[in-house]
Symmetry: C2
Subunit: 501 residues, 2 copies
């Protein structure tokens, strides 16, 4: 998952949607779980879809290929930055594996990108004493001069404080924002803290700063820096920009509190490859009755370069592939087609301009004539921890479909969201913006931002039981949607209900 | 704390003592805690020493300078590798601070060392795909050639498996031991796992290997490598040797399990400074009646270079300094002198040879004429987590002193050890070997080896409540010993009792 700069710009109002969704009374939950009989006359509760129950329970018992997928992919190819050989080789491996698994139409769709390549990088406090710093250049940020940069650090406790600094006040200085990310289950703390990472370089440069430092947008306290994309200003990131590990940010704050002037030396040998390409990997489980109607499941194949992209987004891929594989192996197939797309170049997404693309955009353009028959879309991109909430399109929130879905999901510990999905992510975002209804299976993000975008994003961080629970939720819900003839498109003019009742 | 290579060689039999100490019945503990009246005729339980109670309780309530000491020292000077400017500046700061705090005879005693300096270092898997590895050169290991080293990795699941490899079987290869350290409260897992780090380079080189890799001797699962000293063979570490982070060791193991031949490239620009020096910082709280009798408290000022040496051994210093400062501020002073020594060059200790020294050895040589009046010695070097066990010299294990000590310590959650201290550490080791009685306040090491010798050894890892509990235990016990006239030297020929009864 990345800060969806695209979304930050294009859909500013929705930015906080991720953080503001859950609040539902216990009574409402109980009502759903029990699926009470309609008022007029009691009749027996309908059984949930039996195939969905079987898929769910098989997945939950570990009979699914999720862990095997993420283990083999991350072991064989390691980090998969957009445009890299590793990303391309992983895509080829995935397409071949889809064929072996019996998916249809498995293929790769390439698109051009400018790849950003991390170089050697280093940082030290050089005064009052020499101390190494753990940093990571922010994605797409330019290199320093070959001899590095050196300057006094000006510490801002918040991004607002930086924005309040007068023009010219940072001339020759290194600006640093030390606001700490708040840990929340729904990831809302990320949305708040990431603004400094996204817009800090521009605001710092505008005031004369020669470089920008941000306390890692992450909730851990390890000497590992959380990288991530930062926003272009007039087509480029204006100054060399870095994330500092949380303990390193603490250290500079403490030295400043001791009355010391802190000077820092920074070096980055980052570079750009202008004629690179990335790719989406696409595979179908063709529907038995209405194959042209598509339920789209997305995750991203690229990863940041520091870790092996196990939880971001190896597990997202593993979850949707494993769910689709369970559905594929049902002898009579669902009515509609289930399509899996492993998107390329998600992490370094910038607003789309001529010559700039990312996997989600590339898919929505290449498949624009099909989008009218995409009946539903979603993506998995918040690690491997358990699903705790489901959000459905407004059209079905009070329908029999929703009640059946909840009978399947509540036993997994999944609550109904009182609102339809907000922003569903960068990968299927452009498809959803084009009018395709979305659902969301929200994951517990309490632990996600300890690891996210760091070297620590490796296989050992996966909790297999929670991974299985994800596959169970996806398999059950996707089967239900794909085997139905429900029209998920919201009626025009019908506002989404405030809460499920 | 380092693997006490000196001790591994000189006192092999005692090596496991740390891990084999605790087993005492609940009844025995209760008996101590209650301090039951002697059989013949009931008399009122004696109150514990009132000054010791006051010092203990003040420390426990946070009225002590431990956190301030470790915070300021680690912030100002960061990493303090033996022989570095940072170590020297930190020593000067500490000596000045001792004077400000009212200690007597605060001074620095220098000694010559050959300093080892980590250079730029890097490692990658280069086949079957290119993946960065997180490594740390082992202390004192030689640099690679300037162009690096490259070779096939041969994975050994244990150090015994490496030692069973035939002569010549590793010609041109890179040997790797992947045994995992076991987490234990008493640190016993370290003693077992560290053998591969200490002796692996020699055993690998003897079989033709061009380099040696060891899974980090640590219980975490972060992309942080645990460095540490390794043993000289004929005056030098024979091949470039590195610790791999646990997730990186996993990755190579998984690739091997997938049937892949793994090739790795290694680079280290480590170097040696042959005319360096380190130093011990010494300060006294002079006794009011018998100032020539010394209770010696040790910890080490140097640290590994990757972190800031907060828990290894910033907190050890902080604990003994804070305890001694509480004792110093008692208006009537204890009868005997309490001496604090902050030892230099502990981490890279090698067996003493001409021209090779470390702080603990240097102290025992420089103060050899005083050792006869050193009445007791101990050191704090296992982080900042709580003391859970006290071990006293054999001479006093069944004495009134022990009963009084336990009345002070049991309320802190400290159990009596059924055995006298085993190896007490590298710093006071040579002093104890010279015949000075030792005590030990053993700390809970469950968490210590997640952080030990990694970049993660930073201030944020300290639990202040547990740090205060350490100071409380040290202040109370040291006051008791220093204000007594107890002779702690064991009677010759008296075997230590098997258990306190």
């Amino acid at each position: 998952m990345h800060p969806t700069l695209h979304a930050l710009i294009a859909r500013d109002g929705r930015r906080r949607a991720l953080g503001a969704v859950l609040s539902l009374s216990a009574a409402a939950i109980a009502a759903y779980a029990a699926a009470p009989a309609p008022k007029p006359a009691p009749k027996p509760a309908e059984p949930p879809d039996l195939v969905a129950v079987q898929l769910r329970d098989a997945a939950l018992a570990g009979h699914n290929i999720a862990y095997e997928w993420v283990s083999e992919l991350t072991s064989r190819f390691g980090p998969r930055p957009a445009g890299s050989t590793n990303e391309q080789q992983a895509a080829a491996w995935a397409a071949a594996r889809f064929k072996e698994l019996g998916f249809e139409s498995a293929h790769i769709e390439s698109f051009p990108i400018t790849a950003w390549v991390r170089g050697t990088e280093s940082a030290q406090i050089i005064s009052p004493s020499v101390q190494p710093l753990v940093i990571a250049a922010l994605g797409e940020s330019p290199p320093t001069p070959p001899t590095g940069l050196e300057g006094e650090v000006v510490v801002f406790p918040s991004f607002d404080a930086l924005k309040a600094a007068p023009a010219g006040s940072l001339e020759g200085k290194i600006a640093m924002v030390t606001r700490r990310m708040v840990r929340t289950q729904d990831g809302a703390g990320y949305g708040e803290a990431v603004l400094a990472r996204a817009d800090g370089p521009g605001e710092a440069a505008r005031r004369g700063a020669i470089a920008f430092l941000v306390r890692s947008v992450g909730t851990d306290s390890h000497r590992l820096a959380h990288t991530g994309a930062t926003r272009y200003v007039e087509g480029r990131v204006p100054v060399p920009s870095f994330a500092l590990s949380n303990p390193d940010a603490d250290q500079i704050e403490r030295l400043t509190a001791l009355g010391q002037t802190v000077r820092v030396r920074l070096f980055s040998g980052a570079s750009y490859v202008h004629d690179a390409h990335s790719q989406n990997v696409i595979a179908d489980v063709r529907g038995r009755e209405r194959p042209e109607e598509i339920v789209l499941l997305g995750a991203h194949l690229d990863s940041w370069d520091q870790g092996t992209g196990a939880i971001d987004d190896g597990t997202g891929m593993a979850i949707i592939v494993a769910a689709a594989k369970l559905i594929r192996d049902v002898p009579h197939r669902p009515r509609r087609t289930v399509r899996v797309v492993l998107f390329g170049s998600e992490e370094v997404t910038q607003p789309v301009e001529p010559g700039v693309a990312f996997g989600g955009h590339a898919y929505s353009v290449a498949h624009r004539t099909e989008l009218a028959t995409h009946v539903l879309a979603s993506e998995s991109d918040t690690g491997a921890d358990r699903v705790y909430r489901v959000a459905l399109p407004p059209s079905v929130m009070q329908s029999e479909f929703a009640r059946t879905a909840l009978r399947l999901l509540v036993p997994l510990g999944v609550l109904p969201s009182p609102r339809p999905p907000g922003e569903v992510g960068t990968d299927v975002g452009p498809t959803v913006e084009a009018g395709v209804p979305a659902f969301a299976l929200s994951q517990d993000a309490s632990r996600y931002f300890e690891i996210h975008h760091t070297p620590d994003d490796t296989l050992d961080k996966i909790d297999r039981q929670q991974l299985d629970q994800n596959v169970a939720a996806w398999a059950a819900l996707v089967w239900l949607a794909a085997d139905s003839d429900v029209d998920f498109r919201a009626q025009a003019g019908t506002p989404p209900p405030q809460a499920l009742r």
